[in-house]
């Protein structure tokens, strides 16, 4: 059955700095908790796994022309992070004004989830 609470659980975990992942019971592939069928094998039974929301910066941008609601944070970064496992996550990062503030490969972690989605911080 489609579980309406999956996204909510994912959000609650992110608020605690963790990523709720789903491990396929058939092939062990990891997915974010918002997925219902395995991309690799099509299986639909998963085991919940809580991962540490920590990893390294794969790429990012520093936004100076923001969408509505983000003027007060500008400039800020939107960042893609490689978690220790074979999974990536992306989110908002405040107080990044120039590329030197965030070299690729920097360590970053999830610290919260609010109206800006996943909130990352440089470590």
């Amino acid at each position: 059955m489609y579980k309406l609470s999956a996204k909510q659980q994912f959000i609650e975990c992110a608020k605690l700095g963790k990523i709720l992942a789903r491990k396929c019971k058939n092939c062990a592939e990891l997915h974010l908790a918002t997925v219902y069928f395995c991309q690799k094998c099509g299986h639909k039974e998963f085991e919940n796994v809580e991962l540490e929301g920590k990893g390294t910066v794969v790429t990012y941008t520093i936004i100076t022309v923001p969408p509505a609601g983000f003027e007060k944070y500008t400039p800020y970064a939107w960042v893609v992070v490689q978690l220790g496992s074979n999974l990536r996550i992306s989110g908002f990062m405040a107080n990044i004004a120039k590329p030197a503030d965030l070299p690729i490969g920097s360590k970053a972690k999830i610290v919260d989830f609010d109206e800006r989605g996943i909130i990352l911080e440089k470590q």
Binding site: V65, P66, V80, I89
Partner: protein
Amino acid sequence: MEKVCVIGAGSTKYGKLQESISDITVQASVDAIESAGIEPKEIDAGYISNVFGVADKQVHLGPVVMSNLGISEKPSLSIESACGSGSVSFREAFANVAGGFYDAVLVTGVEKVTHTGTEWTTTYFSYCSDFFYEGQAGASFPGLFASMARAYLTEFKATEEDLAMVAVKNHDNGFLNPKAHLRKKITIDDVMNSAVVASPLKLYDCCPFSDGASAVILCNEKFAKQHTKNYIRVIGSGRGGSPAALQGRNHITTIPSTKIAAEAAYKMAGIKPKDVDFAEVHDCFTIAEIVDSEDLGFFEKGKAVEAVREGKTRLNGEISINPSGGLKSKGHPIGATGVGQVVEVFDQLTGKAGERTVKDAKVGLTHNFGATGASCAVHIFQSV
């Protein structure tokens, strides 16, 4: 499968337009019908692509267009697939003609957004991303492609000046296109000195927000031969998908849907990338043209930058990429772009491209995607 042809094409100017969304949609449709030399009554169905009709108070555009053409009884389909709407719509029309359901159809794409202003257009466009992870977290479209650009520049040791050369080339081509939105030549310094939008991308690395409409008439070959000598054949059609969010991709410097769509289109056409004389590719940002021309097989991974440096992709270079000026200079009315690319191919292959004609061209390719390439369509055309 029926052989499918394009027998007519029309476009409004791209830019900031004053007319309403329905007015420009109908205008482009009428131009395409007249260019084909057919009567509206001969059209069996309409495919209308658009993304933000809600911003100009008109969605469900299909019946409005058909009613204005005096064929209100004919079926229509209104289609949304972000920036790739036009080519996806073209593909649905192609499939229905190829499958024998219809003899002749109208495909029109349109967008009317510039009146909403920079902040709101940026916001609306962010709804095309995987919003939970991207738009919601403040990622604009320039921001998403900037992330792709930073990954590419890091991995392949390319420079921001390399990206700038794509913009300079496309503005050179667009300067020769009377319908282009940004019709001016620019230099690498202009690009490098323009304001940063989302680092490392600057204003001149970005396509503009544009209004505009484009339309084509698609039909089977029997219908084409009965009406005109001036038609082109659709010899390949392919579609593909990618993970909706950038974080779902192991490599951010390639777009999976482009490769899947291109492979299918080349296979159907029975040709190789080297057989393509010119291509209209999805250069929403300078980095996108680099990534596209590698994913489409024109250059090896990591080598497109060198090709641009050597001028291989200029008008009448080894392979002319974006002779129309591309999204960068011609403009990017998102629901219209995919259809507009077919208009350019039609003009090129029927001798109507004027000063920007690709010499001796026989085979043209169009490549158009939605969002960061989450959805994609590639089509290949041949002159008769």
